[in-house]
């Protein structure tokens, strides 16, 4: 490589890559190759982002395209019809999901919030490390295993499948999710606020409940909503706890139809009518989950 102003190099060496080239007009072949390789690799990163996002777009597109066809009042209010008859709806599944999810929230929420508060406010306790560890492990358990647990805990002694069993399984999924977000949100509250409350003469528990917890209610509610959205979509733990049914829910201790399970059943069935109901059901589920996620995020962003 020649240069406009070259200086004498301290050592000789014909195999040296280059002398002290100063002019930037001199660009070697290697430099050009580096430049284009750089553009290529950065391009592949962009392509990767596209590839990662495509499934989402595709799923949303298909779910809404196929699902919208069956969207009518009947879908929300009617029971499924026997095979061969057109029409019918998944009203029972929607009601069933609402029932089971509500029960799971009632069962699990106290434990989730309590442990979240404990982890945040009493973090110096010896027990905290163990608890945090257990919450993490619980969160990592495949949901179908929780189904087996609920089966052994409730279905077996009761002698039958029930909405309660399904709710218990879902509650166990709810607890670590709520605990983690509660802890995170509470930890954001600066210590001087707690000190201010204590300095006013309030007992610790009042400070925690009335000031810290109440002040974080937006973030905690968001966490709860997201957790509810999540368990609404869970299928595996319900398959052999709440089982399924073709009728309206008729008792917390009876099997109940839930939307995800029904979608599963109808999706793998060879009947087109059922497939169509599955799509509309999936659309309903996705719509609900998306609205919950998007609105919760918007609320959080506005607060921040």
């Amino acid at each position: 490589m020649t240069s406009a102003t070259s200086t004498v190099s301290p050592t000789s060496g014909s195999s040296r890559p280059r002398a002290r080239a100063v002019s930037m007009a001199q660009v070697s072949y290697r430099d050009i190759r580096r430049k284009w390789f750089n553009r290529f690799m950065l391009g592949t990163l962009g392509v990767a982002a596209l590839v990662a996002v495509l499934p989402l777009i595709s799923v949303l597109y298909y779910v809404f395209k196929q699902g919208i066809a069956g969207l009518n009042l009947e879908f929300f209010t009617q029971l499924p019809k026997p095979v061969g008859e057109t029409g019918g709806g998944l009203g029972n599944s929607i009601l069933g999901t609402l029932t089971v999810v509500m029960m799971a929230t009632v069962i699990g929420l106290p434990f989730g919030i309590a442990s979240g508060v404990f982890l945040s406010e009493f973090s110096r306790s010896r027990f905290t490390y163990t608890l945090r560890f257990c919450v993490e492990l619980l969160a990592g358990i495949p949901s179908i295993i929780l189904g087996i647990f609920a089966y052994a805990l409730i279905v077996v002694p009761m002698g039958g499948f029930s909405a309660l069993a399904g709710a218990v399984a879902l509650a166990i999924i709810l607890v670590p999710t709520v605990a983690k977000t509660t802890e995170e949100v509470l930890k954001l509250v600066p210590d001087h606020i707690r000190e201010a409350g204590l300095a006013l003469g309030l007992p610790r528990w009042k400070v925690i409940l009335r000031i810290v917890l109440w002040g974080s209610r937006a973030g905690i509610s968001t966490g709860i909503m997201l957790a509810i959205a999540r368990i609404s979509g869970e299928t595996a733990p319900l398959i052999f706890t709440a089982l399924n049914s073709q009728y309206w829910p008729h008792g917390l201790l009876e099997p109940v139809s839930t939307l995800p399970v029904q979608i599963y059943t109808y999706a793998i069935a060879p009947f087109e009518d059922w497939n169509r109901l599955a799509w509309t059901g999936a659309m309903t589920l996705v719509f609900f989950v998306l609205i919950a996620n998007v609105s919760m995020r918007l609320i959080l962003r506005r607060k921040a």
């Binding site: 190099s9 060496g13 890559p17 002290r20 080239a21 580096r34």
Partner: protein, 259 residues
């Protein structure tokens, strides 16, 4: 700005350089020339724009989101900001050593020194060996590390790491080396070693060093520029600037009345 006799054939020349962070005008209309094979110091109180100006000299300023600049910087007569000039090419010719030593932790000492070459595709082991030895000797570090070249770059002390960074910058044989407060994070002994080094280095490289330490500037540099609030107040032979400064503000700064 006051300046004594102009420099002919400067290796580095800034012409009316302005630098901004968004709307904040950090460097105001700086014009400055650097003679080859000299050490030029830039002094001034904190936040006066000297580091920012330094970074416009090798196009590192533009890497900060929201940062812009105006003006020209000429390296051997060519404007590094000309259209079509790749910043990558500029930085290979104008090296930089930072305030906090930053060798790559995932690379060994050897690999750290020649990383500039390996990136350029040089694979020849004997060439690399030679460059490692030459650069480390140039940075006065060879004797201390020649037996542990395979160890990670971060296993050295602070002063040694900084000399490693100097060796790394020198390995690609840049005509100009910029140094941004290279000794402010180091102990006095390492600082002294590096100051000795600077005087030696100017035989092969042109050095521009930003420093907080006036005594250091007086010790090692040939010319010194005094920066205040983004402007160059005085740019003079160091011996003159530190004994009979022409501007009252320069005098106030070097006698410790502020900054």
């Amino acid at each position: 700005m006051s300046q004594s006799k102009p420099i002919v054939n400067p290796i580095l020349e800034a012409r009316s350089v302005d630098a901004y962070f968004g709307a904040f005008h950090a460097v105001k209309n700086v014009t400055l020339s650097v003679r080859p094979n000299t050490v030029t110091a830039m002094i001034g109180p904190s936040g006066c724009g000297k580091s920012t100006f330094l970074r416009t000299l090798n196009r590192m300023h533009e890497e900060i989101p929201g940062a812009t600049m105006k003006g020209q910087v000429l390296l051997a007569g060519e404007d590094i900001y000309a259209r079509g000039i790749d910043p990558v090419q500029v930085r290979r010719r104008i090296g930089m050593v930072f305030q906090k030593p930053n060798p790559f932790p995932s690379l060994s000492i050897y690999e750290n020194v020649v990383v500039g070459l390996t990136l350029a595709g040089v694979k020849n082991r004997s060439v690399l060996d030679e460059v490692v030895e030459r650069s480390l000797k140039h940075a006065a570090l060879w004797n201390e590390v020649k037996d542990k070249l395979k160890q990670p770059g971060t296993s050295l002390s602070g002063g040694q790491q900084q000399r490693l960074c100097i060796a790394r910058a020198l390995s690609v044989e840049p005509p100009v080396l910029l140094m941004d407060e290279p000794t402010s994070a180091l102990d006095p002994i390492s600082t002294a070693k590096i100051e000795e080094l600077l005087v030696e280095l100017k035989k092969d490289v042109t050095v521009v060093v930003v420093t907080h330490n006036m005594q250091q500037a007086a010790r090692v540099s040939d010319r010194t520029a005094f920066f205040l609030l983004g402007e160059v107040i005085e740019y003079e032979e160091s011996s003159t600037l530190f004994s009979v400064p022409k501007d009252k503000r320069t005098e106030a700064y070097i006698t410790g009345r502020f900054g």
